[in-house]
Each structure stands twice: as C-alpha cells, then as structure tokens.
C-alpha cells in the first residue's frame, strides 16, 4: 500500500502562508477552531467569515485543491456512523448539517496549517506554550522515526507477502503478530542506539 500520503506538501515553501510565522498561524487556527465549535449556528456571519478566510488562505498557499479535497473527504467509519445516527435522531441538539459544517471547517483549518508549516516550527510553538520537555522530545522523536519505522514495517510486510502462498486466517494473524512484534523489538533496539549516539555527543 502506498505510503505516499505520508509526505506532506511543504515542498512549495514560497507562498505567503508558508512564510507566515508559525505562532501566528497556529494561534489563528486555534482561534478559528475554538470559535467554530462554540459558535451557535445562528451566527452565520462567523461561518461565512471563516469560510472566506480559509478560502483566501488556500488560494494564497498554492496547495493543490485535489490534494485538499482528498484529505477532507477521508471519513472514518466512526465519523460516518455518528453522523448517520445524528441525522436520524430528532433529539440531538445539533443537526448533522451543523456538525458536518463545523467539522469540515475545522478539518480544513488543520490541513491547511499542517501542510504549510514545517513540523520543527510546530514543536517550537509547543515549547513556547510550556508543554513539558519530555513530551516535546517524545513527539519530536516519534515524528523523526515515524517514516523510518513505517518503511521497516512496509519492507517486512512485503517480505511476508512474498512468502505467503496459502492465505489461511490463522497464519495471517500469527505472522502479523510476529511482524509487529519484530517491529517493536527493532524500535526498542534503535532507541538504545539513539541513546548511545546522544551520549556520544555529550548528552547528560
């Protein structure tokens, strides 16, 4: 399966949106998201305004629309289920259209910001708002080694497929567990080597 979607569109780091300082972007995004969630549906002005801001930002950012649409339309079964239930529920305080609208606007905001801001800058903003160092380090390391581990997992999966001739259910689960277990072991060993590398350059 393709892991291409993992790669972001930071490539065009030339648009004004890309260049905007991360603190501003994240602050504005947060304000938009919180506002949208809290605002009652009657405040149409708010929603129109947010829509306009997002629309302009998308145009300025030069992110491909198809890319955005694809990200936006990915719906998990959970989301689908909840929306459906809500639609058939006379008692719900929010109708499904309201939920969908709010959700969509917030989603768009996050997709926009995350694709125009290098992750390192996001981390710096987290540090600014006093997120504990241990958590920031863990997030940084996760992001750094995400792709490494996904690659390893993908290679193991392909190797497993190459040697799977009889698709039996039980075998599938057992070999899956072996691969996942192996992934953890490798991750664990790599963590130790990283620690050694940190010490080698003077980490206390």
């Amino acid at each position: 399966m393709s892991t291409d979607w993992l790669n972001h569109h930071h490539g065009h780091a030339h648009s004004p949106v890309h260049r905007m300082p991360a603190v501003l972007k994240l602050g504005a995004a947060l304000a938009i998201i919180i506002g949208t969630v809290i605002a009652p549906l009657q405040w149409t002005g708010w929603f129109v305004g947010v829509g306009a801001v997002l629309g302009i930002s998308i145009l300025l950012s030069r992110l491909p629309l198809i890319f955005l649409l694809k990200r936006l339309l990915v719906l998990s079964p959970f989301v689908l289920g909840v929306t459906l239930v809500n639609a058939f529920q006379p008692s719900a305080r929010f109708q499904w259209q309201a939920v969908a609208l709010k959700s969509g606007l917030c989603l768009l905001t996050v997709i926009l910001v995350s694709n125009t801001t290098p992750f390192g800058q996001i981390l710096r903003v987290l540090k600014l708002v006093r997120v504990p160092m241990l958590l920031i380090t863990t997030i940084a390391l996760m992001h750094r080694y995400l792709f490494v581990l996904v690659d390893e997992a993908e290679r193991m999966r392909r190797a497993r497929l190459s040697r799977t001739f009889v698709p039996s259910r039980g075998f599938h689960w057992r070999s899956l567990a072996t691969v996942v277990g192996q992934l953890f072991i490798r991750a664990s060993e790599r963590a130790e080597r990283i620690y050694d590398a940190m010490c080698a350059r003077g980490w206390k």
Binding site: T3, W5, L6, L30, I33, T36, V37, K70, R71, V74, S76, F78, V79, G81, V82, V85, N86, Q89, P90, S91, A92, R93, F94, V99, K102, S103, C106, L107, V110, I111, S114, F119, I122, P132, L134, L135, T138, I139, A140, L141, M142, H143, Y145, L146, L149, V150, A153, A177, V180, G181, Q182, F184, I185, A187, S188, R190, A191, E192, I194, Y195
Partner: protein, 315 residues
C-alpha cells in the same frame, strides 16, 4: 475512535481537556521519576511503532487510523505511565499532522485512548497476570485487558457524545459499546499475540519492563481521574437505566436528588422510543461478554503457551 472537531461541545471539550492535562502531567512526572534515562528515547520510538504498526497492517484510506489503539499492549510492555505518554504522543501527532481527531477533541481523545485505554487496561492486566502467573498468565491477561480497555474507552466516548448532545446515550451507548465489543476482540487478540511474539524473541524485554511497573503505579492519582471520568461521562446516564431504581426513589422522595445537579445530562428525559431496551441489553451483553471473553482469553493462553514453555526468571 478519534473524535473530530464539532462532535463534542465546548463544555465537554473543557472538562475532558482538564482531565487529560492532569492525567498526562501525572504520567510525565512518574515517567521522569521511574524510567531510566536509557529508555527515554524508547517513548518516542514506541509512539512511532504504534503508529507504524497500526498504519501498515491495517491500511485505512488516507491516514485515518485503524480501529486498534494499542494502549494496553504498550502498558504491558512499558508500564502504565509510559503508555499514557506514548499514546498521547501518537494522538497529538495524528491530530496536528494528519488531522485525525479534532483539536478541541484532543482532550477527549487523550482521555479515552491514552488514559482509560492504557491505565484502565493496565489495572485489569496487572492483577490477572499476577494471579495466573507466567507468560501464559500475561498473555491471557493482556487478551482480556485489551478487550475491556477497548470497550470501556468506547463507553466513555459515547458518554462524551451524549453529554454534548450529538448522539443520544440510548443510541450511542449500545452502538459504541456493541461495536467495540467486537473490535475489542481484535485488540485483545493482537495485543496478546504481539506480546507473545516479543517474549519469544526477546524475553528480557518483557522481564525488564514489568519490573518497573511493579514499583507502584500511582493508584490514587490515576484512580481518581478514572473515577471522575466515569462519574462525569458514564454515571449520569447509567443512573437512568433502572426504572425500578427511579420508582423506588420516587417512593422514598429521593427522585430529584438521584442525579447530582452539577452533572446534568443535557437531554434529560427524552428517550427514543424503543431504544431504552437496547441500553439495558447492551449492559447485560457487556457483563456476559466480559465473562465469555475472559474464558476465551484463558483458552487462548493455554493454546498459545504450552505448559513446558520456559518461564522467565521473575514472573
């Protein structure tokens, strides 16, 4: 069960945010105290592992996570506090980088998947694994705990959705609990199998980590948080099931004092006709289900770990 923005309302977001922040702060403090410096990078790598394992083996379009969480597994491997930090990290990265899970819903998602799933799972795992003993005991305990953790997290999620008025409890609870009683089977099974695979290749990794978690796990702190969570998101709704209880309460003049006024469910008395039975049925299914799942977990343990398997030194 990553809740997106807009599905839970402001007050729910605030309350869950406060609970999660407390829980994560607690976990971070414990990890700093108990985890040897050598293992600090392991937190980040374990988070990357969870993500990679979820994503590559259960490919779901475009990056929304598969349904498995993995909190109980990580708790069994690294201890409950480390698990909280690890799963929180995964959720934060998923939220900001992949828009999987809303920003305002982060508090709820962390509470459900990092705290309830990991700590709750561990609370169930630890005593059972101790009681049964050996690798077989751990595998059994993890299979069961994985299932329970998935179900309980789902119930809390339903509670939050109901509290926000998005999905009525009488529909949400049966739906979430019901689906996760099924999904939980996968969670429990995979957690147990992966744990077993690791213990077979690297038994010292298993022995290593469980040693740490024995040094007490902040029972009071976590216990309080979990109880609060249950009190806020589950109890007010469960108080509505037993018609009989209400009846008794009226008789004794307690009716309006039954539900604390502080925690006031928004859709007070409306019930979707015909759905109340579903709530009761789900509750019963849950109880029966847990017994059945435990029995299966026990059999699984027996099947996977033959009696002659070499037991690690400190089981």
């Amino acid at each position: 069960m990553h809740i997106p923005d807009g599905f839970i309302d402001g007050k729910t977001a605030l309350v869950t945010g406060a609970l999660s922040a407390t829980g994560v702060a607690l976990a971070l403090r414990r990890v700093k105290r108990e985890l040897p410096p050598r293992k600090i990078p392991l937190l980040g790598l374990a988070a990357a592992f969870l993500f990679a394992a979820q994503m590559v083996n259960f490919p779901v379009a475009g990056g929304t996570s598969g349904h498995l969480i993995g909190g109980a597994l990580v708790a069994a491997l690294l201890g409950p506090s480390a698990a909280v930090v690890v799963v929180t990290t995964v959720l934060i990265v998923q939220c900001f980088l992949f828009a999987d899970g809303g920003v305002t819903a982060l508090g709820a998602n962390i509470f459900n998947m990092a705290i309830i799933n990991s700590v709750g799972g561990y609370i169930i795992y630890q005593p059972i694994s101790r009681w049964l003993g050996g690798i077989r005991g751990r595998v059994t305990a993890l299979a069961f705990a994985g299932w329970c953790a998935a179900v309980i997290a789902a119930i809390a999620c339903a509670g939050q959705l109901a509290w926000s008025g998005t999905v009525d409890w009488s529909v949400g609870f049966p739906a979430m609990a019901g689906t996760h009683m099924l999904i939980g089977i996968g969670e429990g099974l995979i957690s147990a199998l992966v744990f077993l695979a690791i213990s077979r290749t690297r038994p010292e990794m298993i022995a290593d980590t469980s040693e740490q978690s024995r040094r007490g796990m902040g029972v009071i702190g976590y216990g309080l948080l979990l109880s609060l969570g249950v009190a806020i998101f589950i109890a007010p709704f469960t108080c509505r099931w037993p018609d009989g209880l209400e009846h008794v309460a009226t008789k004794l003049g307690f009716e309006h004092k039954a539900t604390p006024s502080l925690i006031h469910a928004p859709v007070a008395d409306y019930r979707i006709p015909g759905m109340t039975w579903a709530v009761g049925a789900t509750a019963i299914a849950g109880v029966l289900g847990s017994l059945i799942v435990f029995a299966f977990a026990f059999l699984l343990g027996r099947m996977l770990v033959p009696k002659k398997a070499p037991e690690p030194a400190n089981s």
